[in-house]
Symmetry: D2
């Protein structure tokens, strides 16, 4: 019948349009079929072997960060993250140490041979921040701060882009496209939970976003288990799910003494918990990815 033919044409058109559309995006796997692997001070992200981005929510002092850095070093980790510019809901909450915090991170990274990652919130700071950082983070609240994305697109350092609190996967890819279209192809995507009606967790970890983004884009994707769950008791199970579903890495927060942390005290791990967390994950990693053994 005519109607049937119309439906077929309809479907064909639909697919054509979608094809064109995705092909157009530089982040799309249609544009570049092979995985993008990002090298951060010699550590590869996106090569099939998961990496761990760990550190305190906020940089509070040299001692605090060093404490965490040592624990990470002992576990063979390389990617230290700490917040120096903190986007906080209230103007009266601790706003971070700013460039002084970046300096602390850099000093410790130099001392322990680590790479450092920290969030930048102002387009005007990107250039200066590159002197301190190995990876520039753009946070969830700024995922559609397009001025910041454009500035990040001109940076020479890799960008870790977090998904917005209520961003669709499509919007997330287009935010990455803002960066790549300015010339910076080194982008690490980060799923960090989405806002839903469910309040048992701080956000709802959208674990399915990982395989979708792996299919649709050529970029590495890591999972922030701290902000997606907001619960210390869920960090390990969520990280296991992330590894099993194919994430390129896991991000979590560690603090020498979470009870006195200046931000997010309820969700950071202390050192013994971190040690256990890493042992469990490396054991799982060894079991499920025999081809890429880790120590």
């Amino acid at each position: 019948t005519i109607e049937h033919i119309f439906k077929e044409i309809f479907k064909a058109s639909l697919e054509l349009q979608e094809d064109d559309h995705r092909k157009a995006l530089l982040v799309s796997r249609k544009r570049k079929p092979e995985d993008t692997v990002i090298s951060v001070k010699g550590t590869a992200i996106g090569n099939g072997s998961p990496q761990y981005v760990m550190g305190p929510c906020s940089v509070e002092s040299y001692e605090q960060v060093e404490h965490v850095a040592k624990a990470m070093k002992q576990k063979g980790l390389k990617l230290l993250r700490g917040g120096a510019f903190k986007p906080r809901t209230s103007p009266y909450d601790f706003q971070g140490l700013g460039f002084e915090g970046l300096q602390i991170l850099k000093d410790i990274a130099d001392k322990y041979d680590l790479a450092v990652i920290s969030e930048i919130v102002n387009p005007a700071h990107i250039e200066e921040a590159e002197q301190y950082l190995d990876v520039i983070q753009i946070g969830a609240r700024n995922m559609q701060n397009f001025e910041l994305l454009k500035a990040a697109g001109k940076a020479t350092k890799p960008i870790l882009l977090k998904r917005g609190m209520s961003a669709t996967i499509e919007e997330f890819m287009k935010a990455a496209e803002y960066i790549i279209s300015q010339g910076n192809e080194q982008i690490i995507l980060c799923e960090r939970g989405i806002r839903t009606y469910e309040k048992a967790t701080r956000n709802t970890l959208d674990i399915s976003a990982v395989p979708i983004l792996k299919q649709e884009t050529h970029l590495p994707i890591i999972v922030d288990v701290t902000h997606s769950t907001g619960r210390r008791d869920l960090l390990l199970p969520a990280a296991k799910a992330a590894l099993a579903i194919g994430a390129d890495g896991v991000m979590a927060e560690v603090h020498p003494d979470p009870a006195v942390a200046l931000s997010d005290s309820a969700q950071q791990m202390d050192i013994p918990m971190f040690d256990h967390f890493m042992e469990e994950l490396k054991d799982l990693q060894n079991r499920i990815r025999t081809e890429v053994p880790v120590r």
Copy 2:
């Protein structure tokens, strides 16, 4: 200061209240610390070894179900699920074969020594359905159909209770409490995705619900990867995440010829895909749970 003392009392009261509250629930782990293990025709659900509940979305014919049953048998599976009473959004969609469908399931179960699971939607049907079924399913749309829950609570067969489309974890537990408070302690919980703004998947798989429910209740919990993702390409990664995070089982839909299925044709696996799905999951299961080997 006074304010500080007040805050301490505040927190103490809060915890006290929450404690009391959870202790009161019969489904709570505070009430029964050890895991509930449910035996379905000799197959244990909830004993640490994951189980697989598979079958077509709708029972369409004897031949269709038998085709799937044979494939399951070859993989050593025991738990066959098929829909006979179909709650469909539109009254003009296929509504299922009803008791005739249950008879088909029972005949095939007898022939192949399988256990059968099917959804019941009317409290008045529960008693009759027990003659056909090994497990009675209560679907997401009926999670707060309290009349149905009460009738299920008087049944002698185990109940598979699916989480409502926008139910909180707390509401989910209280729905299970309706069943257990009527005397039926054999309840399998099923996470099947929640409704969010994200439309890349049919629902958003709330993977964190699994460890939360394992902590809060003593009941087994399985993950329906078909309805949570609604995408054939995500069934396997989602199932891997479910196993890794500690689910007691996985549910998915299989159809001999999904293209002609009377419902949900876009999300069911065909037999070769099912074979691959099971091989991958059993491999993962063997790797991550060495203490419980499976063939």
Copy 3:
């Protein structure tokens, strides 16, 4: 270009399909352009003059209901609502007086010449309930309890159908279609808020659903300001918005002494508040709909 022609065909097909689809629904305005006006004991719902459905959350006693009935009578209202079968999240909450509660409602309705509305939750109760009720309510939790909808479709009394907690407008219309397709054309739709991430209100009043449903269907639509806001201080402003946007009525809860109510004590109005509420709304109604004066 070819691509452009394809796009045009695409759009045409899309519209054709949507047209067909909506035309098929019996609740659709395409099927019946003129408004359905429902007469409840001589009171018209859907004729352009808004009506008020008021009463306690739960029927607790004859005295309690009579107290409210008298206050309604004084304001010239006719539509008394009270809950006798209460679908409660926990099995340990007050579950309502059942048929005894319906009897109380009927006795008071007879005495004060009011019409009564109450929720029925079991398909097996519909027939018996018709002896007591002028309108049968189907609650939000049962919007996709299709067995109940089918039973309601065979009733001889009008049905007040509440939107499900996370139902789309399309699902809401199709739930109404279940009723009308069984022969009962007397359906009043009720917007009662949807579940979102925002917790400042109990639900989020989806006020735009009112004009959409007025356009898409020929059925009257009322707004439940109590469950959508869950806050006594928002009942009046929400009701004003409902009248201004074209709702056919407003539903709210009134209790002689909300502080001791057996359910939902935080959101019911007491009598003086109800008096003020009605005066304000009738004043607004007189101002905005001069063609239909009310006393």
Copy 4:
């Protein structure tokens, strides 16, 4: 009993904490009970008489904006809004004319004696933008771009702050607090719909946010009916609801020829529709607020 006393103390503590908390905010009505009235080139916003902020989604040309400005002038309106810096989901969409667009707005404002409002997206642009604009808009995507908020807090012009796509009312107030805490007390809040599962509208207009924000803060609040509904056919009903519930103004988009608009063509009004829109709203306004007559 002890438990009861604890509960009472609990409630008291809770209220105390909340009280303190709200009192601390400068935007809170506890801090300043009287309404903040903002004067924009002689037009008062927040004095009980609603105002209308109208204009094209994007500034495309002098002629286009002038066309709208003339229509507004004829209706006695003063507040012209147009987008020059456009935050667009994709980097390949039209990004706006930038400062050239602001110049067009200013020229037309001077010619027709209007006030102009436009969005600024980069903290570094705020100071320069003040030369062109009477009100600086901060858009939904930037509601938690705290660097931008701080810069806005140092501006000498009023700020129109839109609610973030999935911001809670509390987060919205705290975003305003970022501005006021830097010294700028002239803030107009704008409800523009929130992201929910419902896709019949572009966003879900959270109409209840209006009375909540009027209670909690002393700031004027307007409703953007264009972005909350995303549907031309819902602009008028939504605007009526906004006026009835007590909004201080309505914002909507008008374009001389929406079909060729460079952005959001599906939701802008053309001039005849705008004329009808304004007539209907002024009629409603006259009816419901007799004490403040408008022409």
